[in-house]
């Protein structure tokens, strides 16, 4: 991996692990519209999430739970795309 990519990955982990603790807890644009027009309660969970609400499970201290979820998700996303890339390379004959 190039030094530049390493730096950006490190910054990403930092953003996902530290900045995320200070994220606004206000509802986002769509949630706000759903609240204002009374359909927010229609939201349902069809498949229970592994890490719901970006809080790492079984971690009592909330900022730490968020930080761990952020770091985990950032690295998982990175690895997923790397893996997909390897799959594309492997299946070049198709």
């Amino acid at each position: 991996m190039t030094p530049k990519n390493k730096i950006i990955l490190a910054i990403s982990v930092l953003v996902g692990g530290i900045f995320s603790i200070f994220a606004s807890a206000f509802p986002d644009g769509l949630e706000k519209v759903a609240e204002n027009y009374g359909f927010i309660n229609q939201a349902k969970i069809s498949f229970p999430a592994l890490i719901a609400d970006y809080a790492f499970p079984k971690v009592g201290y909330e900022p730490l739970a968020t930080a761990l979820a952020g770091i985990f998700g950032t690295i998982l996303t990175f690895l997923l795309i790397l893996f997909l890339g390897k799959v594309i390379i492997k299946t070049k004959q198709l």
Binding site: F78, I88, K92
Partner: protein, 236 residues
């Protein structure tokens, strides 16, 4: 604007899963063009068993991995990771509402529209499948809004803007802002088609709130491209 399950009806969800899958298939095909090149390889043929005549070498078309293929994959992965992280950081906009980066134009500017679309799709898939952010059934809709409309659409918005304004940063900012508006409009249309809320209510409501969120998108996109992804090869 990750749509949870329950907001859209089944027809809308499944139609958009089909649309999103089609675009993913296309993007994979395009990704191969970035990663491989056809080369003509000379394959010397064996001498015949008589040992006297030597055939002409045979020419075969071969798919070869481009030299920068692995670098391109790493770039895609790094951009996706960065956007995932940024999407966790909601910034407050107004009267109790927050927004976060969508990253469509950012991804498209660094990776081109197709690899950019795949990067955003990866982010959305992880969010829906691991973190329950955005419904699993609504994943097609979310991919359509943010990866197809926001990223591929955002890329062409940039091309249009740069033709008119001849200034890179202004064009990036405008494309980023409009990409959020377009994605939120698509979201509003889906909600209206699903009969969750009438179009004449949801369209202006989504527009006004995302007109504000889009300002944050424009700011983050311009700064991230200028200071973080500045020397990335932006050739498409």
């Amino acid at each position: 604007m990750h749509i949870p399950d329950g907001f859209l009806n089944n027809q809308t969800n499944f139609s958009l899963i089909v649309v999103a899958s089609t675009f993913c298939g296309l993007a994979f095909k395009k990704a191969k063009d970035f990663l491989f090149e056809k080369t003509e390889a000379l394959v010397p043929q064996l001498m015949t068993n008589v040992g006297l005549e030597i055939n002409q070498p045979k020419i075969l078309n071969k798919l070869n991995l481009k030299l920068n293929a692995n670098k391109k994959i790493q770039q895609t992965a790094v951009v996706a990771a960065f956007i995932f992280a940024c999407q966790m950081v909601n910034f407050p906009v107004s009267n109790g509402t927050s927004g976060h980066l969508l990253g469509g134009v950012l991804a498209a500017m660094v990776l081109g529209p197709w690899l950019g679309m795949l990067a955003i799709t990866g982010v959305l898939a992880v969010q829906a499948l691991v973190f329950g952010d955005g419904g699993v059934l609504a994943l097609g809709a979310n991919i359509f809004n943010m990866a197809v409309v926001g990223t591929i659409g955002g890329y062409y918005l940039y091309l249009l803007a740069v033709k008119i304004f001849k200034n890179k940063n202004i064009s990036i900012a405008l494309a980023a802002w409009f990409s959020v508006i377009l994605a939120s409009t698509a979201c509003a249309l889906e909600l209206a088609i699903s009969k969750t809320i009438s179009l004449n209510l949801v369209l202006p409501a989504m527009f006004f709130i995302h007109a504000l969120i889009g300002l944050g998108e424009a700011l983050i996109t311009v700064f991230a491209l200028k200071f973080l992804f500045n020397d990335y090869d932006s050739k498409k």
